[in-house]
């Protein structure tokens, strides 16, 4: 393969040009223009941003329908974005302004000024029984908890306790759909996608633990 050195002196000659890197301001402007044009023509399939929180940086991702994914840092944000690219569409762009409302509501929640979320949600990453369980989660009031067994009963399958555990563990929208309020019947917290410490933090914030 030819390299940039096959004409002696060419690299030096072009150095003035190749050193002409896009400055950050230009890159930001071009990126914003791409996001705007993509959204306008309906080909921005997944927008995302991150927000800081008491439980670490959270990745927020949305489709045209609504918020589709909230992910903890321990889930590996790059890996989550690759999963979204594979499962929804690879047309994925960082577009913080398109997640402004979700970020704002999460800020209010973590500041203790919000007890429920009022956001359009896209539940396409969850199907069947898991989706039924997720739909029942907002029924657990802020500041209270429910057992996995009670959630199984609420979802219409009292014996599906383990399946409720799986539904919670694979909740694509943690915090917003409060799977952290589902705990074991013996009062211990049980596992959580963001780690048990994050579950403890959220329940403490809500005054439930």
């Amino acid at each position: 393969m030819m390299s940039a050195n096959d004409t002696p002196g060419a690299a030096e000659l072009l150095a003035a040009f190749t050193g002409d890197e896009a400055d950050e301001e230009t890159s930001r402007r071009l990126h914003a223009r791409l996001v705007a044009a993509a959204a306008q023509t309906g080909i921005l399939d997944v927008s995302y941003r991150t927000v800081d929180s008491p439980v670490g940086p959270l990745l927020l991702a949305a489709t045209a329908e609504g918020l589709v994914r909230v992910a903890y840092a321990v889930e590996d944000h790059d890996a989550v974005l690759s999963q979204l690219a594979a499962r929804i569409s690879p047309r994925v762009l960082a577009a913080p302004a398109r997640l402004e409302r979700a970020a704002h509501e999460l800020d209010e929640y973590f500041a203790g000024r919000r007890t429920g979320f009022d956001l359009p949600l896209d539940l396409r990453l969850s199907t069947g029984f898991r989706r039924l369980v997720l739909a029942a989660l907002p029924g657990i009031a802020y500041g209270s908890t429910a057992s996995y067994a009670a959630m199984a009963a609420a979802a219409g399958s009292p014996r599906a306790v383990r399946a409720v555990g799986t539904a919670c563990a694979t909740n694509p929208l943690p915090v917003v759909l409060p799977c952290h309020r589902v705990i074991k019947s013996d009062g211990t917290l049980g596992r959580y996608a963001g780690g048990e410490a994050a579950k403890q933090t959220l329940l403490a914030l809500e005054g439930a633990a």
């Binding site: 000659l13 002409d20 402007r29 791409l34 080909i43 569409s89 690879p90 762009l93």
Partner: protein
């Protein structure tokens, strides 16, 4: 099917494609060319076969966009290659005199030479890829790039000497 988020493609290749656009269509039209290129790339991205040379793919799209731009300019009866010098509008606060001189010299090159130089030396594509984009053989692309570099060296160095003499 491609599964890498498009954001990564923009981050990895955006700066190179901007340099190529600046070299081929000039700094004033480069941001429009870049934007059209990446919007078209985003549209086609889900169908990009795995293992594709993404940079060559992007430069191919940029090349077609540059042709479209030139045709549109011709329809508006603005002579191509006769763009006014507007260094203050380019938004390149870091660009020094050397970059300005090189741009002026690049602008004087025949289009084929300018494209060959940009695609090979700025995008680092092998001549086989450059030829696939421009048409013709790899050898012809290599010659066009070599002629371009020789002409650039001549006008650029000449300019440089004049600058020092005055």
């Amino acid at each position: 099917m491609s599964y890498e988020p498009f954001e990564n493609i923009v981050a990895r290749h955006g700066p190179t494609v901007l340099r190529v656009c600046r070299a081929v269509v000039g700094p004033a039209a480069a941001e429009d060319a870049w934007s059209e290129t990446f919007l078209a790339a985003l549209r086609a991205y889900p169908e990009l076969p795995p293992g594709s040379n993404v940079e060559a793919w992007l430069v191919t799209i940029a090349h077609r966009k540059a042709i479209d731009q030139a045709r549109a300019a011709a329809r508006r009866a603005v002579p191509a290659g006769d763009l006014p010098d507007r260094p203050a509008r380019d938004g390149l606060p870091g660009a020094g005199d050397a970059a300005d001189d090189l741009r002026a010299a690049l602008k004087k090159l025949p289009l084929r030479q300018r494209e060959s130089v940009a695609y090979h030396y700025l995008a680092d594509l092998p001549y086989a890829e450059v030829a696939a984009i421009l048409g013709g053989t790899a050898e012809a692309a290599r010659r066009a790039a070599a002629d371009g570099i020789a002409a650039l060296r001549k006008s650029y160095l000449h300019h440089d000497e004049e600058g020092r003499a005055s």
